[in-house]
């Protein structure tokens, strides 16, 4: 399947491991990734909130470049990019007057116009069902040897469900389906659908940490060896800010956090040069050890 690949800011910068593992995994799953060089940041929740008209144009421009590349599917690997692009896409597809004005502006600055021919989907959804999910069992040939993995969805791939719509936002199943196809055991806990606090972690750290502690604590209590998330913002929050939770509570969590493509990647036997676990703040050594010794 040939898709436009929108990696977003974090996978280009602090979460490079997400990009390298996704790129290494893609051909094994039958995905041909078309990189879009002219696209920009989707604006995250920030430009979406603060300068919504600019947000709509930035996302319209991304969709237009995906269309110009001859693809009808834009694959995201970040929950926030996914929601931003899907929302803009709904607006541009369903309101001709808005689309006409955005297109006129796009053409004025020299960008291609957007006719509405692109679907936006998260990598998670592509791998959770259908052909690619069938492939998963053979791709993940090394397996996860019964590793106990706590799925953490992140908000914006679930809610608002009228914009995401892939699964029941209160009883999601997609991460569990992937964990199990890779040979792991999915661990259940109530906070798997809640917020990691990342959007306000710089402006309201205390409030954000009060949110972050719930999934980490519950995953630990449920006996998870690691957590997996389809969102690089959740990853940054869970992985990098975990030390702040430890400092604030005086407890040791040491919970390894994997990107979705790393979890599949490690089961598929990708190399460390592609998985780049060394870039994690919380060590993943315990997980690797479990997978190599059991």
């Amino acid at each position: 399947m040939r898709v436009s690949y929108y990696k977003g800011c974090l996978a280009s910068l602090s979460a490079k491991e997400l990009d390298t593992s996704t790129q290494a995994l893609a051909p094994k799953l039958g995905l041909e990734l078309v990189e879009l060089e002219s696209v920009t940041c989707c604006g995250a929740g920030d430009i979406h909130e603060a300068d919504p008209d600019y947000y709509l144009h930035l996302n319209g421009r991304i969709l237009a470049y995906a269309e110009a590349a001859g693809t009808d599917l834009l694959m995201t690997i970040c929950n926030v990019c996914n929601l931003n692009l899907r929302q803009a896409n709904f607006v541009l597809r369903n309101d001709e007057a808005v689309r006409a004005r955005v297109n006129e502006n796009l053409e004025t600055v020299g960008a291609p116009p957007y006719s509405g021919g692109v679907e936006v989907k998260h990598f998670l959804w592509l791998v959770a069902e259908g052909e690619m999910h069938e492939k998963l069992r053979t791709v993940a040939h090394r397996g996860l040897k019964g590793l106990k993995v706590a799925p953490f969805y992140g908000c914006q791939v679930l809610r608002p469900s009228k914009l995401n719509g892939f699964e029941d936002p209160d009883r999601p199943w997609s991460l569990e389906a992937i964990i199990e196809a890779c040979g792991g055991l999915a661990v259940d806990y109530p906070a798997k659908i809640k917020c990691c606090g990342f959007p306000i972690i710089q402006a309201r750290e205390e409030t954000a940490l009060g949110e972050l502690i719930q999934p980490v604590e519950q995953a630990l209590e449920a006996g998870a060896d690691a957590m997996v998330t389809p969102c690089p913002l959740c990853h940054l929050s869970l992985d990098a800010w975990q030390q702040k939770l430890e400092a604030a509570t005086g407890r040791k969590f040491r919970m390894p956090i994997l990107h979705l493509s790393q979890l599949i990647g490690v089961a598929a036997g990708l190399e460390e040069s592609e998985l780049k676990f060394k870039r994690h703040v919380v060590s993943v050594d315990g997980v690797i050890e479990k997978l190599t010794t059991v």
Binding site: C41, G43, I47, D51, V98, G110, E211
Partner: protein, 364 residues
Amino acid sequence: MIDVALKIWRYHSGTGERKLERYEVDAPEWATLLDVLDIVKDQVDGTLAYRKSCRMMICGSCGMRMDGRAILACKERMKPIAESGHVPVISPMGNLPILKDLVVDMAPFWRKIRAMKPWVDPGYEEYPEKEFRLTQEQMNPIHKEALCIMCGCCVSECNSMESDPDFLGPAALAKGFRMVGDPRDRTKVERLASEPYSGEHGIWDCTRCYFCNERCPKGVDPRDAIAKLGAESMAEGIDNDMGAKHAKWFVHSAKTTGWLRETELVPKTQGVVSAIKQTKFAISLARRGKVPVPFPPHVARDVREARALHELVQTQNRRGALGHVQGERALARIERTDEGGARRDVPEVTPGEPPVQRDVGERP
């Protein structure tokens, strides 16, 4: 008739006693959860406490949780649930102190609503001679917010409020935009600059978890209202909060390099002094490559297009909340398209969260 079974979390705040009780009653096929509660109270246990009034999704009294989700009891039909064999767990709403069984103390909720000055302030002392007439276009921006029935379902699941009980929360902020966006109100800037709106527990405390949009039974979409308040604040230059500065840096990044200038985000949000206090933390991240070197900057090809777009849209009269409002007509169509809409699975046996009694100022 249908045979409906329920489990209800009973709670007595005087004794602190709580237990999950199972009830089974015969109900008409059209019965809602509220109808079933009425039957239970009438025929099985008269001490069961819950709020109700209109029975038709207008009064906002019967907010509670079913299987952990905040709902209006009068909106949920029981037939498909009863027929699936599922026994739902009914519990009180979250984020508010429980008084008895399914009744929560709404006092903190009303206190926050009142803090928003929930009335139109036309800014004149004497009545003008002619009445103030409005067009539909003028009222469109606050159409959704005006639908709020103040049931508290959004507040029940607000993730920021769980962590910061003083956060104004989705209902109060949606009411805030209902006033800020009203063309008859002449105190917009004053409101936006005031403590409840742009203070510590205001607009920028929202963590964008979208639980409020998901739960609202009336389509208010409180998170969108909060975004409109943020957009109006920025357009009015009320942008001193760290949340606003964080957003401003995203805009600046998009028009200069196209991509987020991640490493400079912390000092630009928190100020240089606070950022220096984070040095130890920053070093721990830098050792893992989590602090990308800003030079040479990561620049998108054709970034001049993104810059030119920014300049262009600033001149086109869609700044502030209008930028959000322009998409609402299209988004309202989602439910009628194939590509949109949520998949809801048939209920399975999932226990509702047991009620947790927490004092208002207490953090979890």
